[in-house]
């Protein structure tokens, strides 16, 4: 394989060296959050971008992972690492159970079904009484530890999250460049034709769904161990929408898209928080919100295929680029 194809991975490896040079907990936290989102969105990207199945309920799997970790460690005193595994597996199992029926639905109907699943789970977090701590949530989640090594600093957590992400990315890279990746794409393009080519669409869609739920759950578990406090509010419908935004902004059906989407959305939020008050003195959150929305709309108008497509501007010489723009009108 050519080096060129792996520039992204090399960049990621370089990112892991940051701790040797930088010493900002804020930076690490931001990167941890980006990393967690990237894990979720990368899985969701397989489901949405490759298999073509929209989900507006992934915050539920994220939350299920988080609550699994929280409940197992605080109520049942499981070892943290074991609880982390469980936090990935349980959402996976739930996805397996609900997916078979749900994935028969198409497009908006699937979006609605996943949305209502997400809201149901969110209600469960709120109404779970003693088990989930209700709307006030649960605190006192221990730090994640492997043996006697404890992930008690932002820096250590950052290394962990991005290593996990890197390993997942390698796996996903293999996946999308394999027979399975191709089969997923063909489901997205035409289920009839895919079935007639011998592809078991129902099964493959389910696998992609379970896979994305596993990743979301894993990220949820990591989140619980990172913040050590958990409550229903980060797992609402809004969060599911954020995840979909990240996938689409990054670029559907592209390998790097989801990661780019996660970075851009989180970084944009953080940047706006810093920059807006500088541009408009005395500006509160209102301006941030407005500008964020406007940027979102702008991205979709000018880069409807997502940001990962921007690379093409640097590769195709300008002349050809101009011709590319002459497309079907309307």
């Amino acid at each position: 394989m050519k080096l060129k194809n792996h520039r992204g991975f090399i960049l990621l490896l370089l990112l892991l060296i940051i701790p040797l040079v930088a010493e900002s907990n804020y930076l690490y936290s931001t990167l941890v959050i980006i990393g967690l989102y990237a894990i979720i969105v990368q899985g969701l990207g397989i489901l949405m971008g490759y298999a073509g199945q929209v989900s507006f309920g992934h915050a539920a799997f994220f939350g299920l992972g988080g609550y699994t970790a929280a409940i197992l460690t605080t109520r049942f005193h499981w070892p943290t690492l074991l609880a982390l595994f469980a936090s990935a597996i349980l959402p996976g199992i739930i996805a397996g159970l609900i997916g078979r029926q749900t994935l028969k639905l198409r497009e908006l109907y699937l979006a609605l079904a996943t949305l209502s699943f997400g809201i149901l789970v969110h209600i469960f977090f709120n109404e779970g009484g003693e088990l989930t701590g209700g709307p006030s949530g649960m605190s006192g989640i221990p730090n994640l530890s492997i043996g006697s090594f404890e992930f008690d600093s932002d820096q250590k957590f950052y290394m962990l999250v991005w290593l996990v992400l890197l390993m997942l990315l390698i796996g996903i890279y293999n996946l999308v460049h394999s027979r399975t990746g191709r089969a997923l794409c063909s489901i997205r393009e035409s289920e009839y034709a895919a079935e007639n080519a011998g592809i078991d669409c129902a099964r493959l869609k389910l696998q992609a769904f379970v896979f994305s739920a596993l990743l979301a759950g894993l990220a949820g578990g990591l989140y619980a161990f990172y913040v050590t406090f958990i409550s229903p509010s980060p797992f609402s419908f809004h969060t599911s929408v954020q995840f979909v935004l990240m996938v689409v902004i990054g670029g559907l059906g592209t390998f790097w898209g989801p990661v780019i989407g996660a970075v851009v959305v989180v970084a944009l939020n953080e940047l706006l928080r810093e920059i807006v008050p500088l541009l408009i003195p005395g500006a509160g959150g209102e301006y941030q919100i407005i500008i964020y929305g406007v940027i979102l709309v702008g991205l979709m108008i000018f880069q409807p295929k997502g940001l990962s497509g921007i690379g093409q501007y640097f590769r195709i010489p300008l002349k050809k680029q101009l011709k590319t723009d002459v497309k079907i009108r309307g």
């Binding site: 907990n25 804020y26 931001t30 959050i33 605190s139 509010s233 928080r273 509160g284 941030q288």
Partner: protein, 364 residues
């Protein structure tokens, strides 16, 4: 410019507030109060000649954003953190301030924010805990021989904490909760819940909610012809509640901090002067009445300034000074902190009021 105020190095402090998002009705008056306080303090020479450099960050009522915001502030060298506005966003910050050893004064009510204090050495709060308010209500109920009550609460952490507190408080008090109903912050009609209350035979209804749902409930209450006493929580302690309830609020009873009835409290009350000056300052600057949320911010800011004056720019010393606070007269009450009590407010910080022709009236 901040530096020029006293010529001395400014003291950096940070605030994380729920300025936008679900709890923005809390965060906005808090922000306004803080901005006003800083301006006034710096104009008067700051803390021993050091101006205060306050950075306010909006967490959008989001817990994850709260964590990121508090880390930014600590990174920028904040000596202490004020906020966050609501319980969830405050809870999310605790791990960070505990491990980074930065004093934090939350503006939210839940007692779990500061308890157990053995695990919350760095965390303080200025809003009265629910139990303070509940006790006020319980004594009213006993006095009027109301033994069967209905409890209605909002389905979020505010309502949830209220429910926990009242369930604990009614034990062994001879009062029975005969109906317990909840509703969503977004609900547009609480008649179904109230129909159940009506059928339950309760002698009084206690509601733990904030407007607009609290106001809608009050309207519905009147509409379906319920005539038992309606007791709300301090969550409705602003004029907005009365306005939105459009006349239905008359007769509503609630425990509240003294801010809303500052004129009516006795001149002997040690808080009177403080309250009146806050009201005057705030009304002058913003052309509006301040509310209790702003009051929490006032208290947090002044507690911190007090500690800073004694301790100087040293986080450990600030924390120690906060814990030693005694007899500090604030908007929400008189604060007496101890190593076991990081809130420091007692029952005397609240009064019972009744709405009478659209105005608060002190009833004790």
């Amino acid at each position: 410019d901040v530096k020029s105020a006293g010529g001395n190095e400014p003291y950096k402090i940070g605030a994380v507030l729920d300025i936008s998002g679900n709890s923005s009705s809390l965060g906005v008056p808090e922000r306004d109060t803080l901005l006003m306080m800083v301006e006034k303090l710096n104009a008067n020479g700051g803390v021993k000649g050091h101006p205060i450099d306050l950075t306010i960050m909006d967490n959008k009522s989001d817990e994850t954003e709260s964590v990121l915001a508090v880390k930014t502030l600590i990174e920028k060298g904040a000596l202490a953190i004020l906020g966050a506005s609501s319980s969830g966003t405050s809870m999310a910050m605790i791990k960070t301030v505990q491990s980074e050893k930065v004093p934090m004064i939350s503006l939210a009510a839940a007692s779990s924010i500061v308890e157990p204090t053995s695990e919350r050495q760095w965390v303080y709060k200025t809003a009265q805990s629910d139990i303070v308010m509940i006790n006020k209500i319980i004594s009213y109920l006993k006095k009027n021989n109301l033994n069967k009550i209905a409890f209605l609460y909002m389905n979020n952490s505010y309502g949830d904490n209220g429910k926990k507190a009242i369930s604990a408080a009614v034990k062994d008090s001879g009062i029975d909760i005969v109906a317990e109903e909840k509703f969503d912050a977004n609900d547009k009609d609480m008649t179904p819940q109230l129909t159940k209350v009506k059928a339950s035979g309760a002698q009084a209804a206690i509601v733990w909610a904030i407007p607009p749902s609290a106001s809608i409930l009050t309207k519905n209450f009147k509409d379906i012809g319920l005539s038992i006493p309606l007791i709300h929580s301090h969550g409705v302690g602003n004029q907005k509640f009365i306005e939105l309830a459009q006349g239905a609020a008359d007769g509503v009873i609630l425990p509240i901090g003294k801010l809303s009835v500052a004129q009516q409290i006795s001149d002997n009350d040690s808080q009177k002067k403080v309250l009146e000056s806050y009201i005057a300052d705030y009304s002058k600057k913003y052309n509006a009445e301040p509310n209790s949320f702003g009051g929490y911010a006032w208290d947090a800011f002044n507690l911190l300034v007090n500690a800073l004056e004694k301790a100087g720019p040293d986080r450990v010393a600030i924390r120690d000074e906060l814990e030693k606070t005694q007899g500090f007269v604030g908007i929400s009450g008189v604060f007496n902190m101890t190593p076991q009590d990081h809130n420091g407010l007692k029952e005397d910080s609240a009064v019972l009021v009744q709405v009478d022709q659209g105005k608060w009236k002190l009833i004790e």
